[in-house]
């Protein structure tokens, strides 16, 4: 292997870690909602899109085709993305949190689609199908490869921070309450717990992470458009990642994200080498395979690679 090839592989590895990390953030979010609290959120792509567009609008330069010109630094953009997602998730939660899982799934997918419709059609704000481009990327002024490595480190640090935060929550009373509600709502209510409030809190926290992931993606790709947040792939991939990695387990969530993203990306590279007509069909074949993988995991390894560990009764520091 010559140094050019090695360099290429390293860059590819950095991209894997970056995107994998972004998906890990989403998986951690879904883990709070589904893994801990049993909330079936099928509208992941909607919150992802909101986060992406908010930071895009706030950090890009003024433009005649969309809202912009606030020129905020990326950090503020991301924080705002999280804040806006939090508010919207809270409103959605108020509306939907009492729905049973089948109905919550349908409602969230519907809400996700409404968000996408709005983002696509309010062209004055979002430039519709053409999307928002030239989104600033942190570290982009550094020379290669440090710009890419810098962003990757940023993503990985964010993953680590949230991992530790959520692990602490999991073992704390609030986190245990979420699982108690998931297991036996009736008893939790009888014990006087405000079930709806905890569920909404879990929903909001999870959605905030999804919005953050959307924001990070917008900066990474430097572009956001309705197609870039293709709902089925985003939502579906995150679900498969969490189920395969281990729902209810934060490490499982992260593992599932990196593992499946690598498979997803790798198969894209492989099929990219096929002749043109086959390459197009191969894209659909990859989705077919991920779908099949999900069925196999659900039937054989329902707990995932790293199944849920229940916190022991004596809490260690």
């Amino acid at each position: 292997m010559d140094s050019a090839q090695a360099y290429g592989y390293m860059l590819y590895f950095v991209s894997l870690m970056t995107m994998g990390g972004i998906y890990a953030i989403m998986c951690l979010g879904l883990n709070i909602q589904w893994g801990f609290t049993g909330l079936f959120n099928a509208g992941i792509a909607g919150f992802f899109a909101i986060g992406a567009y908010v930071t895009a609008i706030l950090t890009t330069a003024a433009s005649t085709s969309h809202l912009g010109g606030y020129d905020l630094p990326v950090a503020l953009g991301l924080i705002s993305a999280m804040a806006v997602t939090a508010v919207i998730a809270w409103l959605v939660g108020l509306l939907c949190i009492r729905l049973r899982s089948d109905y919550l799934a349908i409602a969230t997918i519907g809400i996700g689609e409404i968000f996408r419709l709005i983002l696509k059609n309010e062209i004055w704000a979002t430039n519709g199908a053409r999307g928002i481009a030239k989104i600033p990327l942190p570290f982009e002024n550094l020379s290669e490869p440090w710009n890419k490595i810098g962003f990757m480190m940023l993503v990985l640090v964010i993953v680590a921070v949230f991992y530790f935060l959520i692990e602490k929550v999991r073992l704390a009373p609030w986190g245990r309450l979420m699982t108690a509600i998931r297991e036996n709502e009736y008893s939790a209510r009888a014990a006087g717990k405000n079930v709806e409030r905890v569920r909404i809190e879990a929903f909001v926290c999870g959605s905030v992470l999804m919005g953050l992931a959307g924001g990070l993606t917008a900066h990474y790709i430097k572009f956001i458009g309705p197609g870039a947040t293709e709902p089925l792939t985003t939502t579906f991939l995150v679900w498969v990642m969490l189920i395969a990695g281990g729902s209810g387990n934060n490490r499982g969530a992260i593992l599932g994200a990196f593992l499946l993203w690598t498979i997803w990306s790798f198969t894209e590279v492989l099929t990219g080498r096929l002749p043109a007509e086959l390459a197009v069909k191969a894209a659909y074949f990859r989705i077919f395979l991920i779908g099949l993988l999900l069925q196999i995991v659900l039937q054989r390894y329902a707990g995932g690679i790293l199944p849920e560990r229940r916190p022991s009764l004596n809490i260690k520091a």
């Binding site: 899982s101 109905y103 059609n121 989705i287």
Partner: protein, 296 residues
Amino acid sequence: MDFINFYLIPGLVLGSIYALGAIGVSLVFGILRFANFAHGELMLIGAYITYSLMQFTGLHPLIVLPIAMLFTSLVAVGIDHTFYKPFRASKSTIVIVASFGIALMARSAVQIIWGVDTFSYSSGRIQMPMILFDTLRLSHKHVWIVCCSVALMTVIHLILTRTRTGKAMRAMSDSAELARLTGIKTENVVKATWVLGASLATAAGVFLGWDSHLHSMMGFYMLLPMFAAAILGGIGQPYGAMVGGLVVGLAEELSAYPWIGDSPLLSPAYKAGVAFALMIIMLIWRPSGLFKGRVF
């Protein structure tokens, strides 16, 4: 007159299509107890199989429709046996996730086999609509669609009320446990449910494709309106689904009518959102639907 020709009639046509799909969704929801996220793809498969049968035989889609129904039913029963049956005793959330995956698998299979171009049933001839009373324009295919839909719904009604299997389906929808205790072979009822649901979905897909065109995302675009219609009518209430379908279809088309002033009440781009909004309102305000279906 514009109202009737360009809003009311398309609303009825779309409503009939939604109704046919929603009946299947409602039956599956009521008997198998889960929201089948792959139901739109049954429509997709049915429509594309019809297309190929048409290409193969040169016959009109309505004529090959029964054969397509048979094939789609086989596919549906096969999918159920391989991917849903293992979860009969599990929480419904697992099988919903599985059905989400099946939807993507089915869609990609269609994309691999037929590709992502749009197709059309008609060979390009434009048929002149019939003009009645000097102002009412009825296109032949709209008449066919609505009449065939009514015919199919009547057949469903007869099956559910006059046949042993149909009654067993209603019984199982009421209480699967009591059905088992009564000696009803629940797996046979399940198969019958899939056959009915898939056949109706095939018809809905063909009518939709006939009215517009075929493309690989049409299943997904139909899914939420069908869920909305089924929820509106009440889960497990096939007659409710018929009404629900019409309501959703009419609401969608009529939302673009300039009720107040000159411009459409709702921008046509948001038409798709009407079904979603209706559904969410129903879920929050009255989850049992207009006809007191089951609330899970």
